[in-house]
């Protein structure tokens, strides 16, 4: 169902959700790689991730590879549905404009 989502619509969070949504099922993205893709600072990314995690849209997993800490991020089912509903809402707005 199309539903505009103000939390997701913020440009950085929109790109985070688009990137995670495009990942194949079961795959997760490393924090550093996401930061490079978005070209933002660690702190900025962490702040946006926290908001999405609090909403239940993403899952953040901290682990160690050898002795090095690694953070992996994945979209949750609720996040997938919210993102798809948001995209539908955007498309509906465009369709309405074309009809006008």
């Amino acid at each position: 169902m199309a539903e505009f989502n103000a939390l997701i619509h913020q440009p950085v969070r929109l790109r985070i959700m688009a990137a995670l949504h495009a990942l194949p099922p079961e795959a997760r993205l490393e924090f550093g790689r996401l930061r490079e893709m978005l070209d933002i600072t660690d702190g900025n990314l962490a702040s946006h991730l926290r908001k999405l995690e609090d909403a239940g849209y993403i899952q953040v997993e901290k682990t160690f590879v050898g002795r090095r800490p690694r953070t992996y991020i994945a979209i949750t089912e609720a996040g997938r549905q919210a993102f798809e509903a948001h995209v539908e809402a955007l498309k509906a707005l465009l369709s309405w404009e074309e009809e006008e």
């Binding site: 929109l14 790109r15 688009a18 495009a22 099922p25 795959a27």
Partner: protein, 194 residues
Amino acid sequence: MSQKPASPITPEEARQALELIESTSRQMRRLAAYGGMPYFLIVWGIVWVVGFSANYFVSDPGTRGMIWMVLDTLGLLGTAYVVWHIHKSGVHWPMGPTLGWFWFAWMVYGALFVHFAQAQGTQLSMLISLWVMFGYVVSGLFYRSRVLITLGLAVTVFIVVGYMALPAYFDLWMAMLGGGSLVVAGVYMLTAWR
């Protein structure tokens, strides 16, 4: 006249947001490329096209064996490069190590089957090809990839049909339909995601 959907943004902002989503998704799909699966398929598809063509056109068994050895070495080097590339991409597959152990066990059992089956010529080619497709189908189940499962099952049918109906042309059949299917599936995956 339809009613304007409830939204705090303008259609122009919606268009820009959709473009942002599309460009980010494309970037991500390219990065992930399904764990490098399309590249695996293209590399091993080419190995099959060239190797099975050699089986058909080259009469000397020693030369054929040498060609396959070179092709398999190139295939393994290509596979190693793809695995390294995936590792560097930042895309993490929780099932990756399990899948790696599966392929290791697959290789060991494959070698044992080939050793004890005492098969030769076309029958040996058929058994190895079936064993490879078994690996593809299991990998497809791991990745939850319908493309890989469908490809594995389709090529399995090609193998059985070719072996039963056209044993004299089996190698040519496998070069075109076996190797060709792998290459086409790999190229399809790459183009569909861009």
